[in-house]
Symmetry: C2
Subunit: 190 residues, 2 copies
DNA sequence: GTCATTTCTTGTCATTTGGCAAGACGATAT
DNA sequence: ATATCGTCTTGCCAAATGACAAGAAATGAC
């Protein structure tokens, strides 16, 4: 478990002791495919490090269709920041696409670490910075890249997804219909 | 100046003294239309609170076209987080659309406040949370909303922009061509 | 194994948007 | 006043994508 912790919380200011303390604030949790980690309208009280498996988050649009907002793969932080940090009801639902193993940490425990370990708050700020960058890049890609390229990028970055996730859910993440995605795949593969 | 500071750094944990200390870390700076606050490839060493005026950020796509990534209006934090916090060259350029007045704070001064004032680091985390939410919303809008609706939203949220910014720059922010935007405006206005 | 359900593909046609180019309009400099 | 430059609009046609529907394939329940 400590290995996963070390790879997730990488920062020069974090000592071995810091990491031990951080690790002991986490609890291992396993769940089967389909389990809902956070339901729409609930307030998040924890976040997770994904040790193995695949997690998906989605929202509903005005017509009630599911729009996939994120795929979380092993090593990533599984979190709905707005709900956790503003203590507000989540618009997003978190659900396990496959059986998964996660390390869970509660909000209170996180707070303690954030204010008690300078390296941890630095890590936190860098994590946010990275997330912001990734989200901005995603917006930019929606503008500058064709649907085909967005699909190719996703395949390159998170190939696991193609294996386990229905086309429709991938399509909504890419901003197209499953029909279009089907045609795009036809163009690409041969 | 203290008023702007107070409205920008709102958090229950921040006392009057804290705000005074924060305020004194800022310096007022005025600049004329067209001034570049941060050039592509430079490392940001500060961020700003926009007191009045309008700032735009943009990147270049693979063809060298400018893509507007953000419009900053009065009261907002003008910043390129990745460059400032990772001390890395900025992909984005910050430029004044109109003459502007800003409150500037350096990276070192920010660091001191961030680690010296608990309420300030809490404020920082909430700011990041809000930014993340806004960026995610933007991605979602690019997927779920029509170009027309995206334009209407922008008009509603930041009407100042329409007045000062060329159509082409607004169009690239919305992910369409200036031609399309021109047609959309034609549909809307009458 | 069989049935039912979901997922994926494919066809047809409509809509949106882009690429390109011409012309109108407006601001500014001389 | 004229010339010039950037901005905005508009027309024409092409490309990408969506909506809808039918059928094939895969998956899961019993």
């Amino acid at each position: 478990m400590i290995d996963i912790i070390k790879s997730a919380y990488q920062h020069p200011l974090l000592s071995e002791e810091d990491l031990q303390r951080i690790a002991s604030a986490h609890r291992k949790e396993e769940m089967e495919k389909g389990h809902v980690l956070l339901g729409e309208g609930k307030v998040a009280n924890e976040y997770y490090i994904l040790e193995s498996g695949l997690i998906r988050s989605f929202v509903h649009d005005y017509d009630g269709n599911e729009i996939t907002t994120e795929f979380f793969v092993a090593g990533e932080i599984v979190i709905v920041p707005t709900s956790l940090f503003r203590r507000s009801p989540s618009q997003e639902t978190l659900v396990a696409v496959t059986g998964s193993v996660l390390l869970k940490i509660g909000f209170a425990e996180f707070q303690e670490l954030f204010h008690g370990i300078p390296g941890f708050s630095e890590w936190g700020r860098l994590w946010f910075t990275h997330q912001l960058f990734a989200m901005k890049q995603r917006s930019l890609d929606m503008i500058t890249e064709t649907a085909t390229n967005r699909y190719l990028k996703l395949m390159r970055d998170k190939p696991q997804i193609i294996q386990y996730v229905p086309l429709k859910q991938i399509a909504s993440f890419l901003g197209i219909t499953d029909t279009s995605l089907s045609r795009i795949r036809k163009e690409i593969i041969p």
